[in-house]
């Protein structure tokens, strides 16, 4: 009957038929001879610099060549000229190359291909885009032979051997290389998070404080749900008093970040604590050979000095960098200053490579605090004014990472011990005089920690179905010694009023994991892993157990009650978590893959919240993603749908100034992103991530289906870089760099049904370089948009002695206006 559902037997038959067809496709297609096989390089001589004058950096000349049936180069022309001398040298080089000819149905045929000649100034790390990670695949489909050259076949791929690359575990896993990193202006390594698809960062307490990070439906606060690694060292701080997983990335200079890898979800067994929404890894490197000196001056008294050094013939991992920065800020109480030094060396050691990274950093900053939106809109408060409550902080970090890596013929090991010493001090006041109408609600937080740990893993081929099958296993151990305190101090006089927290914590996270990847058929990769974490906490709580000051009970105005201090107690807690991880990767066509990923992770609790002998309560996290991923030498793209559920969650409570437990939740959404490099002088990346985060359980206040507050629904980002070669001037190479970064945030839900303000920001930068000298201009917020960095809705009282407004209302931190910075750079090789 029309419109009636199919009978069950017919449906089963249909499913079976579809399944059989899919299996046949997977198995049969690779067995057929590919219709066209592209030419393969046999002999490739290296070019010589014209007139022997090598530049300080690589120069890549793109060409189009016709390979004859005999494998010789019959025709060659330059696709994009970089100067007559370089063109001639590149053409002469290509003419000497030899190939195995293209095959059509097994017969040699002429083929037109795109090639590139690289004049080596520094070791190449540029694209072709590294895909897949284990080895460059042999394309099974060739491009159309007689197509016009505008639709030229995929460029020649050069296999990068001798380096184990991390496998891809989800469709939306992505990397942002140097060409995208330096497209838009960035002040610190923390700013670079803006280019990560789906990330939105806000700064609500001064330039030196860690950003609040939103990612894929998560308010990761300062890092509780996003795992950060820089140069092989973890950045998230265990049980930081201001926020679990606090991650301060300001110690990293943007110039020394070579690549950012983003792993959404928790699909890799290497991802551990804090990898609730995903993992971000910074790979450090500096490629400009010789000494670089930069001086920056700009609006609002901004000053910066940067010194960098990179040995000319060494890989980019070998470098040293230093910066000093200060600013008066774009308004009262926004001054900040920082100093940072990083050095890294990588040498051949035994059969592998040894890398050592050391760094030191310190920053102090003032904070304007939040202001009531009503006061801004009514004119009662100037746009950049504050309530005059002194706030700010100090942050320092030093670290040492040693990594030994061995990688031969698909098998290898890496071990990386590290030591990190951190100090964070914050003076903050979110609620004014709400709890204490007389002395105010200012608190001073101190968190000092020493972290010692290591990561280690081994991988090797294991032939089960194919030679590409691999087994990987690893362990990681992390010890933290933490001393922390929180005291209430009087506004202005800093008189100590009461001690809220005084504790010492010892935390241990020991984990092991293993993963097996098999290729039962050529187009299919099955990856399955398991991770086990054992966590142990020892807490020595020396907080006085006396009652809070009369009239200043922080529970007084909070919906959630702060647990009473267990002062004087020594408590221990242990727990373990197991998490399976799995990925199915099917190659649809040469560069197109379909991936389905699954992972179970956890969120660890604040150590001080644990009771004695308690089995550590973890939040269970379950992530899933399905999507498509496309890679070729000029375009990387992906589209994916994802879902993450948590057994319980956390939402920020301004009165207790920390995240408080709330019911279970789910996030689901979609992400699309691409990185395009159609030419050597143009690069662009764009992304859009849509997420809906809702509660799946009720607790009397939050109801099933209610949206989680603060998490933006749509995050858009575009980075675009133009690096044209302009020619020669006074015998020196003249190049330009123009870049822009566009950020769009749509729908920022606030508590009580409110909506925050959308954000649209444009940052641009430009640089003109003539040989050893460059002049650059960075413009943040080009359109001078009036925007709000952070937005909250909660109760506060900023009217001491006046009429208090106690009902939750909107509080904001005002975003920076247009800021222009000029930089003079010297490059001495």
């Amino acid at each position: 009957m029309p419109g009636s559902p199919l009978p069950l037997p017919d449906r089963i038959a249909g499913l079976l038929a579809g399944g059989i067809l899919a299996a046949l496709w997977l198995v049969a297609l690779p067995a057929r001879a590919a219709p066209v096989v592209p030419p393969r390089p046999l002999e490739q001589t290296e070019p010589e610099w014209p007139k022997g004058k090598a530049l300080a950096h690589d120069l890549v000349v793109p060409l189009v060549a016709v390979v004859s049936r005999e494998g010789t180069v019959a025709e060659v022309r330059v696709e994009t000229s970089l100067g007559a001398d370089y063109d001639r040298a590149a053409v002469a080089t290509v003419r000497t190359w030899r190939f195995s000819p293209a095959l059509s149905d097994g017969k040699p045929v002429p083929a037109r291909i795109r090639v590139a000649v690289r004049f080596l100034g520094v070791p190449p790390r540029q694209t072709p885009m590294p895909e897949p990670r284990t080895a460059a695949p042999v394309p099974t489909e060739s491009p159309a032979l007689d197509a016009s050259w505008q639709k030229a076949p995929a460029p020649l791929e050069v296999e990068v051997s001798g380096e184990h690359r991390e496998p891809i575990r989800s469709a939306s896993e992505t990397t942002r290389g140097r060409e995208i990193i330096e497209a838009a202006p960035h002040r610190t390594g923390g700013d670079l998070l803006q280019i990560v698809p789906g990330v939105f960062i806000t700064q609500h307490s001064g330039q030196g404080k860690a950003y609040q990070v939103f990612y894929r439906g998560f308010d990761a606060v300062h890092g509780q749900d996003l795992e950060f690694w820089v140069g092989g060292a973890p950045v998230n701080e265990v049980s930081n008093i201001h926020g679990q997983g606090y991650a301060d990335l300001h110690f990293v200079m943007p110039e020394v970040v070579d690549e950012i890898t983003v792993l959404p979800g928790n699909f890799s067994p290497e991802q551990g604590d804090f990898a609730v929404a995903g993992t971000v890894r910074y790979h450090l490197g500096y490629a400009e050979p010789g000494v670089t000196a930069k001086v920056t001056r700009g609006r609002f008294g901004e000053q910066r000095v940067f010194l960098g050094y990179h040995p000319k013939d060494d890989p980019p991992e070998a470098f040293a960098a230093f910066e000093l920065q200060s600013t008066d800020g774009f308004g009262p109480a926004r001054a900040a200053r920082r100093g940072s030094g990083i050095a890294q060396e990588q040498i051949a050691f035994g059969r592998g490579k040894l890398r050592v990274l050391v760094s030191g950093y310190a920053a102090s900053f003032d904070s304007p605090g939040v202001v009531r939106l009503r006061d801004l809109e009514s004119g009662a408060l100037g746009r950049y004014s504050t309530y005059g409550v002194p706030q700010g902080g100090f942050s320092s970090r030093c670290q040492w990472v040693t990594e030994y890596r061995y990688d031969r013929r698909g098998a290898g090991s890496v071990i990386a011990p590290y030591v990190i010493i951190r100090d964070l001090r914050l003076t903050q006041n979110y609620t004014g005089y709400l709890v204490d109408p007389e002395d105010g609600d200012t608190t001073q937080l101190i968190n000092e920690s020493t972290t010692v740990g290591f990561t280690a893993k081994h991988w090797q081929p294991i032939h089960l179905f194919s030679k590409r099958d691999q087994l990987e296993a690893g362990i990681s151990v992390r010890n933290d010694w933490i001393s922390q305190s929180q005291i209430d101090v009087g506004i202005g006089n800093q008189r100590v009023l009461s001690t809220i927290v005084d504790a010492k914590i010892r935390a241990l996270d020991a984990a092991a994991w293993t993963e097996l990847v098999v290729h039962p058929v050529k187009r299919l990769s099955l990856r399955a892993g398991l991770r086990a974490d054992g966590l142990a906490y020892g807490v020595s709580d020396e907080t006085p157990s006396a009652e809070s000051r009369p009239g200043s009970d922080p529970n007084a105005f909070s919906r959630t009650l702060r647990p009473p201090s267990q002062g004087g107690q020594a408590r221990t807690a242990v727990g373990s978590v197991f998490g399976p991880r799995a990925t199915v990767d099917g190659m649809v066509t040469g560069g197109l893959h379909a991936l389905v990923s699954y992972g179970e992770g956890f969120r660890s609790p604040q150590a001080r919240s644990l009771g004695n002998g308690e089995k550590t309560p973890f939040t269970s996290v379950r992530s899933m993603e399905a999507g498509l991923r496309y890679r070729n030498s000029s375009l990387n793209a992906s589209v994916a749908a994802f879902r993450t559920s948590l057994t319980d969650d956390l939402v920020f409570d301004a009165v207790t100034t920390r995240n408080e437990p709330v019911p279970a939740s789910v996030r689901w959404g979609g992400a699309i992103e691409f990185v395009a490099r159609p030419t050597s002088w143009f690069a662009s990346s764009a992304s859009g991530t849509w997420t809906r985060a809702t509660f799946t359980e009720s607790d009397g206040f939050y109801q099933i289906g209610d949206r989680l507050p603060y998490v933006p629904e749509l995050v858009l980002r575009e980075d675009l870089a133009l690096v044209p070669y302009l020619g020669q001037l006074v015998s020196r190479r003249l190049t330009a760099r123009l870049g822009t970064g566009l950020t769009g945030i749509v729908n920022r839900p606030q508590p009580y049904g409110g909506r925050g303000h959308n954000v649209f920001l444009v940052d641009v930068d430009g640089e003109l370089r003539l040989g050893e000298v460059a002049l650059g201009l960075d413009v943040f917020n080009l359109l001078d948009a009036d925007w709000y960095d952070s937005e909250f809705t909660y109760s506060a009282n900023w009217d001491p002695g006046g009429t208090a407004r106690l009902v939750p209302e909107r509080y904001v931190t005002v975003g920076a206006p247009r800021t222009v910075l000029a930089t003079l750079s010297l490059f001495i090789d």
């Binding site: 109408p437 009652e547 809070s548 009369p550 009239g551 009970d553 529970n555 007084a556 105005f557 909070s558 919906r559 395009a676 159609p678 030419t679 143009f682 662009s684 764009a686 809702t694 206040f701 939050y702 109801q703 289906g705 209610d706 949206r707 989680l708 507050p709 858009l716 575009e718 675009l720 822009t740 566009l742 769009g744 945030i745 749509v746 729908n747 839900p749 606030q750 508590p751 009580y752 049904g753 409110g754 909506r755 925050g756 303000h757 959308n758 954000v759 649209f760 920001l761 444009v762 359109l783 948009a785 009036d786 925007w787 109760s795 009429t803 208090a804 407004r805 106690l806 009902v807 939750p808």
Partner: protein
């Protein structure tokens, strides 16, 4: 590349329309609501009420200087409903209080919890005029169980001059047997301070009806403050100011005696600071 440039231009155009606040409910828990404010009198002021000491009190004037009102999630100090009427029930309650004194609010014992609503416009009231609407307030949806009544000093409103610097002015007649006292009772801001040394009465009940505790404010509505003047005088022994009593103050030329400075005045102050004199309710 052309497509990419177009994409970038589209993003710029899209973005230029994004720099504003979105409209509509975001779907998060709770709502911001508008709360009308009304003041009722919890007794018929034209009729006398009998206090716990047997005095029949009739008010001829009752002026108040009212400050901001706040409504909270936390439970009130006294969760038992106090009978509004006098007579034998009032005397029985008074005797019960002698045996088991009520737990008055002490600093630190009342935990207001989250602020659920407020009305911030001070005003003056003449209770003999009956119900009156005050300025609108605002709040958020959710369970509300207690409230805070505040005194405004100096007074702001139509009766500011009549109140002079007082926050409350009452005038009336108290009769017991053959003894009649025409009295005036006023209080200043400093005299109505609570244990936190603030001019407020905390932990008042907030419910669906005056005297009840707990209501879910689920939308725009009206908060009614029911003032119960009989509570102010419930513990006042007018014999301390009656003519012929040793130490009683002299009445003025109109024959009105001021309670100030007497033990009767202390009883009046205790009554004025009782949460049961100010009952809050919400209706949708």
């Amino acid at each position: 590349m052309f497509k990419l440039i177009l994409t970038g231009a589209a993003l710029v155009l899209l973005g230029s329309s994004l720099g504003c606040s979105s409209e509509g409910d975001s779907g998060t828990t709770g709502k911001i609501i508008v709360l009308g404010t009304r003041v009722d009198v919890g007794q018929d002021l034209s009729e006398p009420t009998t206090n716990a000491l047997g005095w029949d009190v009739t008010l001829t004037r009752a002026y108040l200087s009212v400050g901001p009102l706040y409504y909270y999630q936390g439970d009130p100090v006294l969760s038992q409903r106090r009978e509004l009427s006098g007579g034998w029930r009032g005397r029985l309650a008074w005797m019960g209080d002698l045996l088991i004194p009520p737990a008055y609010a002490h600093p630190g014992h009342y935990i207001p919890g989250a602020a659920m609503g407020q009305m911030l416009t001070p005003t003056t009231l003449d209770l003999l005029e009956g119900s009156v609407d005050l300025a609108d307030g605002e709040g958020v949806t959710g369970p509300t169980n207690s409230a805070e009544f505040t005194w405004q000093s100096p007074p702001e409103g139509d009766l500011a001059d009549a109140l002079e610097d007082h926050v409350i002015l009452t005038e009336g007649v108290a009769t017991k047997g053959s003894t009649t006292v025409e009295f005036i009772a006023t209080a200043d801001e400093s005299e109505v301070h609570d244990g936190d040394d603030q001019a407020k009465v905390s932990g008042c009940s907030f419910g669906s009806e005056p005297g009840e505790v707990g209501v879910d404010m689920d939308g725009d509505g009206t908060v009614t403050l029911t003032v119960v003047p009989s509570v102010w005088f419930d513990q006042v022994d007018f014999s301390y100011v009656a003519s012929g009593t040793e130490g009683a103050p002299e009445p003025n030329s109109d024959g009105v005696v001021d309670l100030r400075g007497t033990l009767a005045f202390q009883g009046f102050l205790r009554g004025v600071k009782k949460g049961t004199a100010y009952l809050f309710s919400y209706s949708h």
